[in-house]
């Protein structure tokens, strides 16, 4: 399990091994702007603020250019976090779409600064 932190609201959700950012947020009861969920439409791009990701499918370079990758753009429906990561949504906030799902997946404890 790793921890995904989502800015600007600093929401923290657990990510199971192999889960994409979209899958972890959906399973935790959160919604945000998404499109095809299959890496084709580029609607679900977010900015990586900390950590790194791996893509579980080939992604078209017309959808995510190498310049965007270098600048920290992440295609969230296909990106699997490599451990703990922080992302920032673009001009939107996470919405709770299911309080039941949110209650069913434990929220990771906030780290205390050492």
């Amino acid at each position: 399990m790793s921890v995904l932190t989502v800015l600007p609201d600093n929401e923290r959700v657990l990510v199971k091994p192999g889960e994409t950012i979209l899958a972890a947020l959906t399973a935790s009861g959160f919604g945000y702007r998404i499109g095809c969920r299959r890496g084709g439409c580029a609607v679900c791009k977010v900015d990586l603020r900390d950590g790194s990701v791996t893509y579980d499918h080939p992604v078209a370079d017309t959808v995510l250019t190498s310049e965007e990758v270098a600048a920290g753009t992440v295609l969230s429906c296909r990106a699997v976090p490599d451990g703990d990561i922080t992302i920032e949504l673009r001009d939107e906030r996470l919405r709770v779409t299911s309080s039941l799902l949110r209650a069913l997946r434990p929220v990771p404890p906030t780290k205390t600064k050492e």
């Binding site: 095809c36 084709g40 439409c41 609607v43 499918h57 080939p58």
Partner: protein
Amino acid sequence: MGVLRMGYAHIRVTDMAEAKKHYVDSLGMKPMEEGDGKAYFKGWDEWDHHSVVLEEGGVGAVKFGFKVEKLEDLERFENQGKAFGDCVVERFSKGDNLEVGDGVRFTTPGEHVIEIYHEMTLVGNDVGFHNPEAWPRHEYGMAVPALDHALLVCQDPTLSERFFKEVLDFYPTERVQPELESEQCMATWLSAGQKIHDIAILGGPVQGKLHHFAFQLEDWSKVLRAADIISMDDISLDIGPTRHGITRGETIYFFDPAGNRNEVFAGGYRAYPDRPCVVWTPDQLAKGIFYHDRVLNEAFTTVWT
């Protein structure tokens, strides 16, 4: 009669193995040939060699092919393309497309590539033409009978509509207009014969994009059965099952594994060139698109490949 139907959709996919599984196992298309990074498929009730071409690498549409009734239609439409002016017109030769004869390629003002051709190798459908059964006994998945139409996205739908009208002799059956009396359209549905649409065009901030390509099923129960298969196969669902006000079609939209949008639908009504064109205005647009919900979802008008 000129254009008979959309004969092929040539689509880019990021992962050929996943795409083949989708179009064969879920949609029920028949694999026809593979090689050179492309794979060819047909529906059970199609008699020409293929209707879907998948090419590995990227997403979105490479081009669409429309079959014409007579060889001389090619020259007529070529001349109409040159007279229209606002499009690129070029000839292509037999063999440039697998199992397809000579043809004419147009690049529309919306930057979509449209090919017309008169010949494709005849292979026959799955029930034959001599005392045939009503449907193939061992149909698979959604069992799509045939490719039907596509919805394209470009910046000036009124101009692209003019291309299909003036170059390829299509006529609009339904339009979304800024107001009741207007030459301008925000979206348009065009027929080449008696189908409610053979092509549709939606205005957007981009050029040359694909909103979806579609297959017609026999009836509403087949659309609901397709919805079951979408769940069974964990296919990304866009919207539906529901009905469109526009075209009266009963529909469901979903995405292939590369994110290209597919539709399977039933219903609609028969089109005639002398039937008054249906006009939708922005105040009732949500009902026109989703007749039951009457709410436009953001993804439907902003997601394309």
